[in-house]
Symmetry: C2
Subunit: 194 residues, 2 copies
């Protein structure tokens, strides 16, 4: 989970989700992408609307309705703090600091959504470079799900769904070289839900 440390009141010094206000002629999604770049330097490739939070008292400054989006950020991305935030930092889902506003609730909802989408959509691939080993992909799944996965069952499922294409490249950084794969396709014709 990527969080920023707030500079301004309220909640100055605490961690929070990056965010800001939508401009008059800007779509919600474009606004979310813009704020993310401004505050973390990351240009999102995957961005999905999560939920809209609108309790009347969730911001001490007055009525603020937040349309929350979440982005998936490959771990190797370099993040540079922008103007609104003094610090950008990664946290494990299980070790979150206290958060500003109702942002803990937002994060929890995002995590639940991600878990649910993991096995009927292609979100798992977004967090990896174009070529990856099957162990890489498995680790992504394990860290999102929060538990271990059996490598044989995992690989069998990938194969039966035709999700990956093997390349003839190998990564030689470990002990036994790992075959690299690419994502095979957009099978999920997303007519349903969100």
């Amino acid at each position: 989970m990527m969080l920023i440390r707030r500079l301004a009141e309220p909640y100055a010094g605490q961690f929070a989700l990056p965010g800001g206000f939508v401009l008059p002629h800007e779509s919600l999604e474009v606004a979310a992408a813009r704020e993310l770049v401004e505050e973390t330097g990351y240009r999102a490739t995957y961005l999905e609307q999560l939920f809209t939070f609108g309790e009347p008292d969730r911001d001490p400054r007055g009525r603020v309705v937040t349309v929350a989006y979440y982005a998936l950020v490959p771990e190797d991305q370099v993040l540079a703090a922008g103007t609104d935030a003094s610090e950008v930092q990664w946290f494990s889902v299980s070790k979150l600091p206290p958060l500003a506003f109702d942002h803990a609730e937002i994060l929890q909802k995002a995590h639940g959504r991600l878990k649910a989408k993991l096995d009927y959509s292609d979100v798992g691939f977004v967090l990896l470079p174009k070529e990856f080993s099957l162990s890489d992909l498995q680790e992504v799944h394990e860290s999102i799900l929060g538990h271990e996965v059996d490598p044989r069952n995992f690989r069998r499922k990938l194969e039966s769904r035709g999700l990956v294409k093997e390349t003839d490249h190998y990564r030689h950084t470990g002990r036994k070289p790992a075959r690299l794969y690419t994502f095979a396709g957009n099978s999920t014709t997303d007519e349903s839900s969100d």
Copy 2:
């Protein structure tokens, strides 16, 4: 699908979803429930946030962000048109009239969500009175899914999940009396997704 005919411009005379503006100290969900009562007379028991629509040009009057909710309304509910609408009318999903704004897109999204939730949540029961026959429940599922369901498989699934409790009441309105059932419980501990 329940729609109202608009009285005011823009799109006067066309069908649209009931809706309106959130009051300053009102939560989004309360606002949705209030507008539904005002425009259709129906007090929602099931109301769920669907999605937020915020394209800059979706309303010709200016920038309007819509936080869409959907309610489930048992068919036997009597609907009385309120002050903002001249007419409340039911439509089949497959035979919708032209709709105001981007409301067709909203409806389509709601339908997709409902289909997806049908078999991992309890939405199917909300559309029925407290006591219902298994054929009633099956018809609800068929009309949401848009295809027929095998009665043996359907009943077996209900039983294996323990979703219904049988009563010793029968409905004598058909030829063979149908045993009536009640909804058994809230098994779905909704920690995940939305």
